[in-house]
Amino acid sequence: MFAGSRKLPPRPVLLALTACLLLAMLAASASGAVHIPWRDLPRLLWGTLAPGDELLHNVLLDIRLPRVVFSAITGAALALTGAAIQALFRNPLAEPGLVGISSGAALGAVAAIVLASGGFFLIAGSAFSGSLLATFLAYSIGRRYTGVAGILLAGIAINTVCASGIGLFTYMANDSQLRDLTFWSLGSLAGADWRTLAWTGPWTMALLAYLCSQWRVLNALLLGEREAAHLGFELAAVRRRLIVVIALVIGPLVAVTGGIGFIGLVVPHLMRMLLGAHHRVLLPASILGGALILTLADWLARLLVSPAELPIGLVTSLIGGPFFFWLLLRGKASGQNL
């Protein structure tokens, strides 16, 4: 069944995505508010530094590079978890932002900041608990309804509760203690530096590799829950494990970036249109596509209003919002349940 729905040969597409990602990362590292000429890049990276070069060298290596790498990893994580949640929930509109997993994590992080003035690991742990709780809630509410309605209703409820919780904590806290509300609703990649990357990077990539290895069960879920069980998968255990892994990815990331929406919705859909629904291909394609799109979005966010910056979530929602509309309208026109 997957062979028939596949639209483009996977290997060239994956290679092309990889090439685009590398190019985008190169371009994003080479430009920004501080002007660094292209021909100076090799010298700054590998050559001996001239006296005036130190600032450019620092900007390139300590400001831009970690940020570009971090946006690629974050984009990959959001898109891959989006693809996995869509299969797991058997629902095309599932996405960390829409379903409330990100805002659950944000609420957990805010609670840790305000109530315990926690250090980073306490904040990340609390964000993980928040996203775990939100994922289980979304899952169990979503199961009670057929079609996409349940998951969206669950998402509305979870997002509302979390937004009011975050609002309440923000109200309680003095605002120097707390990054402002826009951080949690629109996200920011400004917190990226090598220290943050040193542990979020390997952590996230290991978990993403694990998720990729689960392509068989995600494929089986496409057929239906009963069919998957007949194929020999222990669904209850698989489901629990996947939900925990997704929360382990999203929780700590949201603690650093705030909520960045729509990548998890748009990218898997685009990749499915290009490549079909075979998860062995779809999952790595989502990783590459998510990394590519968030890198480009952050590049735009840094350049458009330079020397100021746009909130990254604003850029991703500008791309993702219309796409969401199109998805909903298309489903209606063709009479499908999406």
């Binding site: 300590d62 020397p307 100021a308």
Partner: protein, 271 residues
């Protein structure tokens, strides 16, 4: 010859270390206003969205809003000094700026007179303009003393802001509250913390003798006549006795070097 060069080098180096910063980025409207008040505005190369006064401040490149400034955006202005309000952030960005070798000076930015004097002293010291700082502080002190010496009865007052269509009132721990107290007025909302929504009935119940509304809020409410005619406003003693003061947002919502102006304007209407 070599020794002479060494001595020269040391002199030049120490001269550089002692030279006043020439490329300054200011973060926070309350900071920018003082830089200009000290006559040091021409050293600024960029400021932030909250820097609205004086008008020249609005012509500088903007590095975003001072609470969420971008690291590279600031670096691109090639500053040798960043003057940051204590509320500026993210804190991590300011720390990283300092690591990159940019001098980052955080200055007091609280809603109190003490914080204002401290801010003037800190900024003047960092800009090597101590004399101008003393002059400015004395001028603020004298003008304020003169404004406070004027007789006006202590009124029960509220400060209203309308940005989104409904009214917010200034509670305790706000600059507006501090200005009211300096003017000898009683803030009817002093028991609240920060800015709180004031409902239609709330305003009537508070029954203030004096209403202060900011000029942009008045525009948003449809002008003075429309504001006075509102059912909740028209029943207050303030409206009945014609004690509605319209004050520029920046004067009343921040406690800056022009605080004496705000105090006199309040007293003018309180009489």
């Amino acid at each position: 010859m070599r020794r002479l060069l060494a001595v020269l080098a040391v002199l030049v180096w120490s001269g550089a270390a002692w030279a006043a910063p020439e490329r300054v980025v200011s973060l926070g409207g309350s900071v920018t206003e003082i830089v200009y008040a000290l006559g040091q505005g021409d050293r600024l190369v960029a400021d932030d969205e909250s820097s609205l006064y004086p008008e020249d401040a609005q012509k500088l490149p903007r590095v975003g809003y001072y609470r969420t400034v971008p690291l590279e955006g600031i670096v691109s202005m090639k500053p040798d000094l960043v003057l940051a309000s204590e509320n500026a952030g993210p804190p991590k960005t300011l720390d990283r700026l300092a690591q990159l070798g940019v001098q980052v000076q955080r200055v007091s930015d609280g809603p109190s007179l003490d914080s204002l004097y401290q801010r003037i002293e800190q900024i003047a010291g960092t800009l090597h303009a101590e004399a101008e700082g003393k002059t400015l502080a004395n001028q603020v002190r004298d003008e304020l003393a003169a404004a406070q010496a004027r007789q006006a009865p202590a009124r029960r007052a509220v400060v209203l802001v309308n940005r989104t269509g409904s009214f917010m009132g200034a509670g305790g721990h706000t600059a507006a509250d501090a200005v009211l107290r300096l003017a000898g007025m009683e803030n009817a909302l002093a028991s609240q913390n920060g800015y709180t929504p004031v409902s239609t009935e709330g305003l009537a119940t508070l029954a203030p003798d004096l209403i202060i509304i900011t000029s942009t809020s008045l525009q948003a409410s449809g002008g003075l006549d429309a504001f006075k005619a509102r059912p909740d406003v028209s029943v207050t003693p303030a409206a009945r006795e014609g004690r509605i003061a319209v004050i520029n947002d920046l004067l009343i919502l921040g406690l800056g070097p022009r605080v004496a102006q705000a105090v006199s304007q309040i007293k003018d209407v309180a009489r």
